[in-house]
């Protein structure tokens, strides 16, 4: 154990925070005392909390952002190794059950300053406009209490902040401007998807992706090393850790790493006073005028439930009884096939091409919702997990099929899950290393999800065959991303937060992450989480101007 082990000793303190763009570098950081009442304490620094920290501090609010994860400097801390990089994932214990139990950790939960964006696959897609009103316009799910045109503007803001590399013209949805940076060169795996689509006569395009295709300041362009979901060691990946958070620090926010928030405290009037958090071996209390919970769809409800007190015996903001309910994931089934050509899918970001055909086409479906599908590029450990899990191989057959690694290509969906009240995050009796009850997660697919999965697997199988693949097989169970559990709405009886992200029950308690999604859409959620964070920041600014914050 060295002095500078970011997993044991906090780096962001004493007036400085790590400079993520320089080896061994530091940037100055404004620091607040625990008993100083800051405008906002933000719990979590990922797509939701990281973005909001930046925006609120730039609007002049005093902000302290707390994260249980370490503060990495990717250039020096990230190895080219899947096993080592498990350190980026949320690997503290969680119990996961139900008919289609979720595999948590690697594929959906991070524990770093910067959140799970540190290991996200960088696919950055906008919602189809109709999804914000899916009940009214498409006849399923519930409506979001926001207008798509408003979100469209915030999407653009995020795309520019992340300097997305994407197509000059995006083939689906209302017109949008050119993406800031050019699309990346397609690897063979992405060209397999393209060939399949061309053969089947549907549109495809280069994926809008948050990794640089040209230099940007001190950040290097992508070198196509392919370790994206094991963490980007070059800073080509544009995420909270190297975009929003450096801006937040510059604007005067304080970020505390290795700081686990265990409880949000209410005062006698039912308003939030601050948060109890654990750092450097002791429990502390940070005073705040407002608290924003941004811990993602498991940790956010867990914290609210763990904060139960006499004024709120069922947990904070839970008068509706919906905290921890309507948990959603994305259907994430893959279809894989072998090709005579060498594909070598370990090279370049895994999902360089995609089609949103089945997100934007409503004809020919026997299910509600939609799905996108993307090219794939799993590295050996991940691929072995797929082979032993979904393909049920071990022994000689495992080794033999693993030897075909360089000839495999695959297509994988991000498919819309229907929100079900029975999919939940609750508290278990078991405690974690901080003595806090751990999460007990229950998940099962709806019948509609199953129809969507069957349709997608069937279609992708045809597409792979058309592209020249053989020995094709499909994954049974696989999910990605997490959403729901603190849904946003217009009605306090059927939602946890109002359209501004403010909880209905506690006026100075806010939520800003994927847990407020009422529906999941058929695209990766990170762009929408960030866009929503920008929107909530603007709402807070407007409300503050009217003295309503």
């Amino acid at each position: 154990m060295t002095e500078d082990d970011p997993t044991r000793v906090p780096r962001a303190k004493n007036g400085r925070a790590p400079d993520v763009l320089r080896v061994g570098g530091w940037v100055p950081m404004r620091c607040f005392a625990d008993d100083e009442q800051v405008d906002f304490v933000i719990v979590g620094t990922g797509a939701g909390g990281g973005t909001l920290s930046c925006k609120l501090s730039e609007y002049g609010f005093s902000v302290v952002a707390l994260d249980v994860g370490p503060y990495w400097r990717p250039l020096e801390d990230f190895a080219s190794d899947e096993h080592e990089q498990y350190k980026l994932y949320w690997t503290d214990e969680r119990i996961s059950g139900g008919e289609d139990a979720l595999e948590l950790g690697r594929n959906n939960s991070g524990q770093s300053v910067g959140g799970s964006m540190v290991h996200f696959a960088m696919v950055s897609l906008r919602f189809r406009p109709e999804w914000f009103k899916s009940r009214s316009l498409l006849g399923y799910g519930v409506d979001w209490p926001v207008d798509w045109r408003e979100m469209w503007g915030y999407y653009r803001e995020v795309e520019e902040n992340l300097c997305l590399a994407g197509p000059i013209k995006y083939p689906w949805g209302p017109p949008r401007p050119r993406y800031p940076y050019r699309p990346h060169e397609l690897n063979a795996a992405a060209k397999v998807l393209a060939r399949g689509c061309e053969k089947l006569g549907i549109k495809w395009c280069s994926t809008p992706i948050a990794t640089l295709s040209a230099p940007r300041g001190l950040a290097h362009p992508c070198v196509y090393r392919g370790f994206c979901i094991a963490g980007c060691s070059t800073n080509a990946k544009q995420s909270a850790i190297n975009t929003w958070l450096p801006r937040a620090l510059k604007a005067g926010a304080e970020i505390r790493d290795l700081a686990m928030v265990g409880r949000v405290e209410l005062d006698a009037n039912g308003r939030v006073r601050g948060v109890h958090y654990h750092r450097e071996g002791q429990w502390r209390f940070q005073r705040a005028r407002n608290v924003v919970v941004a811990g993602y769809a498991i940790e956010t409800p867990r914290l609210l439930l763990n904060s139960a007190c006499p004024q709120a015996p069922d947990g904070l903001a839970n008068s509706s009884g919906l905290v921890g309910k309507y948990l959603m994931a994305h259907c994430n089934q893959g279809v894989y096939g072998v090709f005579d050509d060498e594909i070598r899918w370990y090279k370049a970001p895994p999902s360089l091409s995609l089609t949103e055909h089945w997100n934007y086409t409503d004809e020919g479906k026997d299910f509600d919702g939609g799905y996108a599908y993307m090219s794939q590029g799993p590295l050996p450990v991940e691929w072995s997990g797929t082979q032993t899990g979904n393909h049920k191989l071990w022994g000689e057959s495992l080794l033999r099929d693993m030897e075909r690694y360089n000839h495999y290509a695959g297509l994988k969906i991000v498919g819309e899950c229907q929100a079900m009240e029975t999919n939940t995050v609750r508290l278990a009796d078991e405690k974690d290393r901080f003595g806090l009850p751990i999460a007990n997660v229950t998940f099962a697919h709806s019948d509609n999800d199953k129809k969507l999965i069957a349709h997608a697997k069937n279609f992708m199988r045809t597409a792979l065959e058309a592209a020249g693949g053989y020995d094709i097989w499909a994954e049974e169970t696989e999910t990605a991303h997490l959403m729901g559990t603190c849904r946003m709405g217009d009605d306090p009886r059927s939602s946890v937060v109002n359209p501004d992200g403010r909880t209905w029950d506690v006026p100075n308690l806010w939520i800003c992450d994927g847990s407020l999604f009422p529906t999941s859409g058929g695209v990766n959620p990170s762009l929408t989480i960030q866009a929503m964070a920008c929107r909530i920041a603007d709402r807070i600014k407007a409300l503050a101007a009217r003295a309503e914050v």
């Binding site: 000059i168 050019r182 699309p183 060169e185 393209a194 061309e198 040209a214 230099p215 362009p221 080509a236």
Partner: protein, 309 residues
């Protein structure tokens, strides 16, 4: 007695000249005669420009075709032909004789022909990919503008031989056209074509560095000045055009410096050269402007007449 040609007539004459089917005496008359030494000097300057263009092509096509694993045997052609063109140009640049040299002539003609075929190959490569003639393929398939520099090297080289062949006291001409005008027009078009290629590649690079705008703004001005010189009816000193050609010449070398810096800016810097010289900005590309700048200066010498002041 001479009357000023109307601009439209002059433009038509130039178009005819460029199309290679003109025998316009008016165009011939408007240029000053040169001595034997002068024509050889101008030709040598042109040869120097060709040498720079050819070495740029040699380095660039070797690197890019190595990157493409020399998948097609035809991919060996540009490195070989540009090597020949480089040898011929170096020979020409050191040759003080006032007579054309047949082997140099043949090599230049060959490289122009190879470049024309190269356009065809590159166009085919873009079109055959999934998506066809779309932005992605213009970015990542065979670069459509790359054979341009070889074409210019070949064409300017053939022109150099013609200029060299001028009889003492005669007016340099190329296939019956006034050499100064033709060269100015050719160089002007060459600059614009090169700017087109640079624009595509710098657009591809999102103009992430403000200096990336220089090669798409300075050379077009030079191209305009040269074109106006080509269209002008009487010989006169053109200090601005001359200055601008020198600027373009220097720009090519500065661009190479920027690209060397750009490679260093990629992940791993020069330690990771085996990736970064291929994925970073192409170091040998910018000197094309230097070659064209020299050609522009050569054209000006013919247009302005001998240095006698």
């Amino acid at each position: 007695m001479r009357t000023r040609a109307r601009p439209a007539d002059r433009l038509r004459a130039l178009q005819d000249a460029l199309a290679g089917n003109a025998r316009s005496p008016a165009l011939l008359r408007s240029e000053p005669p040169v001595g034997a030494q002068e024509s050889a000097d101008v030709a040598r300057l042109l040869n120097a420009g060709c040498a720079i263009l050819a070495s740029s092509v040699l380095a660039d096509s070797s690197m890019e075709h190595y990157r493409g694993s020399f998948e097609n045997k035809a991919m060996f052609v540009p490195p070989i032909v540009s090597t020949l063109a480089l040898i011929a140009s170096l020979h020409g640049a050191s040759d003080r004789s006032a007579r054309a040299e047949r082997r140099r002539d043949a090599i230049y003609a060959l490289s122009a022909a190879a470049a024309a075929a190269g356009f065809g190959f590159h166009l085919y490569n873009v079109g055959k990919r999934d998506g066809g003639f779309c932005w992605e393929n213009f970015f990542y398939a065979a670069p459509i503008g790359a054979p341009w520099a070889l074409l210019l090297s070949g064409t300017l080289g053939v022109a150099a031989e013609r200029v060299r062949d001028t009889r003492p006291g005669g007016i340099p001409h190329i296939f019956g056209m006034a050499a100064g005008r033709l060269l100015a027009g050719l160089t002007s078009a060459g600059l614009l074509g090169t700017v087109g290629e640079v624009w595509l590649l710098h657009f591809r690079g999102a103009f992430q560095d403000p200096f990336m705008y220089l090669p798409v703004t300075l050379p077009p001005v030079g191209a305009g000045l040269l074109a106006s010189a080509a269209l002008s009816s009487k010989p006169k000193k053109r200090p601005l055009t001359r200055f601008w050609m020198k600027l373009v010449t220097v720009l090519g070398l500065a661009g190479m410096g920027f690209h060397i810096y750009g490679v260093h800016r990629n992940m791993g810097g020069w330690r990771n050269w085996s990736q970064n010289v291929l994925n970073g900005p192409p170091i040998p590309a910018p000197p094309s402007f230097t070659g064209l700048g020299l050609a522009g200066l050569a054209a000006l010498r013919l247009l302005e007449g001998p240095k006698n002041e």
